[in-house]
């Protein structure tokens, strides 16, 4: 087993990007993502990474430059957060439409206003429908592993789509954790050089970013959505290969002590680790039948695996860390509800929102969520969502 190294998660991510031997990085600093690209710029300046580091004046430009370098056939990386992701929004849609396999870390942070630099999932939820693959990491090791795997997923010729690796801002980005790094030789064997399917090349000219008149636009969008949905199989394939090679196994939907549980919690991101502690207490001390399901893959939404993971439970408490304003539930809960709608024996689904703008979600909060969900299920309470810990 490789040696464990205590290092800040942001730096571990930079290390993964370096080991992936990216060709181009364009980024703009924004808290709490800054340490990642700051360290990458040092690695490039110190000639430890042979890449073009392109500083830009905004995130809109960062993503535009990434579009250009990826179109030219370069393995391309960027990272952002919150307002930065929002500023990229226009270009975010174009990247998957052009089938450019960019890898981006999002250090998830709340959107303004009020201005908040702290963690929640409102940034990625705002970019939910841009057509990117979106994966969540729960700790530093996962952030490192998933960054490496993301290049392989994105660049697979059956995929050729951009991918965001979501890590909770501060909670992950700024903590020092033990990481096991993979030897460069083994990384090279797992992740060979990027071979673009098509690239900008004066000898074989192509036009990218064409106009789509009404007669042709719908087919382009249908094609894009099918490719995104089909990428789930490649995600699983890469997870499997990684697990076989390095012994760390990933699933698109993860379960924790969920077998036969009557009530399930559903979480996404680093808060899942606190949720596990809550499950341990509920099962071991209070002898209650409560388990945990964690979504790792957010887009494409892993409906079949989710269905399998929750089949048999009576109550499903879904935790969201963002508000979809005016919507009948949290964004994750809404997807779960539509996945389970009309399914025989589907559980009662309770939607909770917590942890907005960096507010902690404690073990006690999780236990309260489980208590509330079970009593709501008892009375079959008709609700949209409940906010946890909000002063009334």
């Amino acid at each position: 087993m490789a040696k464990r190294v205590g290092i800040e998660v942001s730096l571990a991510i930079s290390e993964a990007v370096k080991q992936a031997k990216v060709d181009a990085i364009a980024a703009y600093p924004i808290t709490p993502q800054t340490h990642i690209v700051e360290h990458l710029s040092e690695l490039v300046a110190d000639a430890e990474l042979d890449a073009a580091f392109i500083p830009v004046e905004s995130e809109h430009s960062a993503m535009s430059v990434c579009a250009g370098t990826a179109a030219a056939g370069a393995r391309t990386y960027t990272a952002t957060s919150s307002q930065g992701l929002a500023l990229m929004n226009e270009i975010l849609y174009i990247i998957p439409a052009l089938r450019l396999p960019i890898v981006m870390t999002i250090a998830n942070r709340a959107l303004s206003g009020p201005i908040s630099i702290w963690n929640d999932h409102s940034d990625i939820m705002g970019a939910r429908d841009t057509g990117w693959i979106a994966i969540f990491a729960e700790n530093g090791q996962e952030a490192y592993d998933l960054t490496l795997q993301s290049f392989k997923i994105a660049e697979d010729h059956r995929v050729l789509l951009p991918i965001s690796v979501n890590i909770d801002g501060f909670t992950l980005s700024h903590v020092i954790e033990p990481h096991e790094f993979i030897d460069q030789q083994e990384v090279d064997a797992f992740l060979p050089e990027y071979k673009p399917a098509v690239q900008l090349n004066p000898d074989q000219p192509v036009s990218m970013g064409m106009v789509g008149i009404p007669e042709v636009y719908a087919e382009a969008k249908k094609c894009q959505d099918e490719v995104l949905k089909n990428s789930e199989a490649v995600v699983k394939e890469v997870f499997r290969e990684f697990g076989e090679k390095f012994g760390r196994h990933y699933q698109v939907v993860e379960s924790y002590r969920a077998e036969g549980a009557e009530t399930l919690l559903l979480t996404m991101g680093s808060v899942s680790e606190t949720a596990m502690e809550a499950i341990d207490r509920l099962q071991d001390v209070e002898k209650r039948s409560v388990g945990l399901v964690r979504l790792r893959l957010w887009r494409p939404f892993p409906s079949a695996d989710l269905l399998k993971a929750v089949t048999g439970c009576k109550t499903l408490a879904v935790l969201d860390r963002a508000v979809s304003f005016g919507s009948p539930g949290g964004p994750v809960a809404s997807e779960v509800r539509s996945t389970l709608y009309g399914v025989d024996g589907a559980p009662y689904i309770a939607s909770f929102i917590a942890g907005l703008g960096g507010r902690d979600i404690t073990i006690a909060d999780f236990i309260s969520i489980v208590d509330q969900a079970e009593s709501m299920a008892e009375s079959n309470e008709n609700h949209q969502y409940k906010m946890i810990g909000v002063r009334e």
Partner: protein, 97 residues
């Protein structure tokens, strides 16, 4: 191009909706967008070629005598040539007249 985009099923589209054949926009007839068409009084034409340079559609073609003709299959009737012509010999005429 073998099949045109508007004849293809979604799964037949090239990667990323890319166009791999240079100049194929010529296949798209934009002439029927036009409500006015340019006409030249060739007796006043000084063969300067300004109209040829400014046409955004590449719809102006050199004639054998050094003056210029219009490719009405592609001319959108924008009137730029008429505005820019040094001698004012191009006029825009309502279609259907």
């Amino acid at each position: 191009m073998a099949k045109k985009f508007n004849e293809m099923a979604w799964h037949e589209y090239p990667l990323g909706f890319m166009v791999t054949e240079p100049g194929c926009a010529a296949e798209y007839r934009t002439g029927d967008w036009r409500s006015q068409r340019p006409e030249t009084d060739k007796s006043k034409c000084i063969k300067c070629g300004v109209c040829y340079l400014v046409c955004p559609e590449g719809a102006i073609v050199l004639a054998a005598d050094g003056t210029y003709d219009f490719d009405l299959e592609h001319c959108k009737g924008c009137g730029i040539c008429a505005t820019e012509c040094w001698t004012g010999c191009i006029s825009m005429v309502e279609e259907g007249e």
